[in-house]
Symmetry: C2
Subunit: 112 residues, 2 copies
């Protein structure tokens, strides 16, 4: 498997509702796997795999305390994701004359 870039891993991690829900809970406070898994109907291994995806994207960290894993959210990937999205929203809004430019190019093409 080709190693994916951070941004792709982050967006892919956020593309699943269960994982977003996990992050929502972790954004309030750190928690154990048990606590995070509780509201979901899926199996423990399924949760474990979701956590692996989140961890690979750098969105969470797992620290061991005895047989418990404390899950902590990390915002760096969110910062990068946000930066990408904001840049493109802004870029689009900056080209408020995008339609005009496009029309000019269409006209130019017709003239050729």
């Amino acid at each position: 498997m080709a190693a994916k870039d951070t941004l792709s891993l982050t967006f892919a991690a956020l593309a699943d509702p269960t994982r977003r829900s996990i992050l929502t809970r972790l954004s309030q406070r750190a928690a154990t796997v048990r606590e995070i898994a509780e509201p979901f109907e899926i199996s423990a291994p399924a949760i474990s795999q979701h956590l692996k995806v989140l961890e690979r994207a750098g969105l969470i960290e797992r620290t061991a305390n005895a047989q418990w894993r404390t899950l902590t959210m990390r915002t760096k990937p969110l910062d990068e994701a946000s930066a990408w999205v904001e840049k493109h929203r802004r870029e689009w809004n900056n080209s408020f004359d995008a339609l005009e430019v496009h029309l000019k190019r269409m006209i130019k093409r017709e003239e050729q």
Copy 2:
């Protein structure tokens, strides 16, 4: 296939580097499929499929002019994606005392 929510479709669409690159170009100006496909080494059908993903997420619109399709970017899905990410970044930062709260809970558990 279960119908996915907009946010999931948006994040999934953004999870691919080729699609992000397409959006980057479209954020500058509207373009035809041919123009968008040009810098990529992948086949035309592959591009067409990427466009379908972007369209399903509402990130682009295709309008037909003769045999050309003009691709236009739409920012609404980006607005929603941004809102989700920002909310969670903020939430996490608000709970600056998250560690303290967690420690209290750990202590409480030990006392029981």
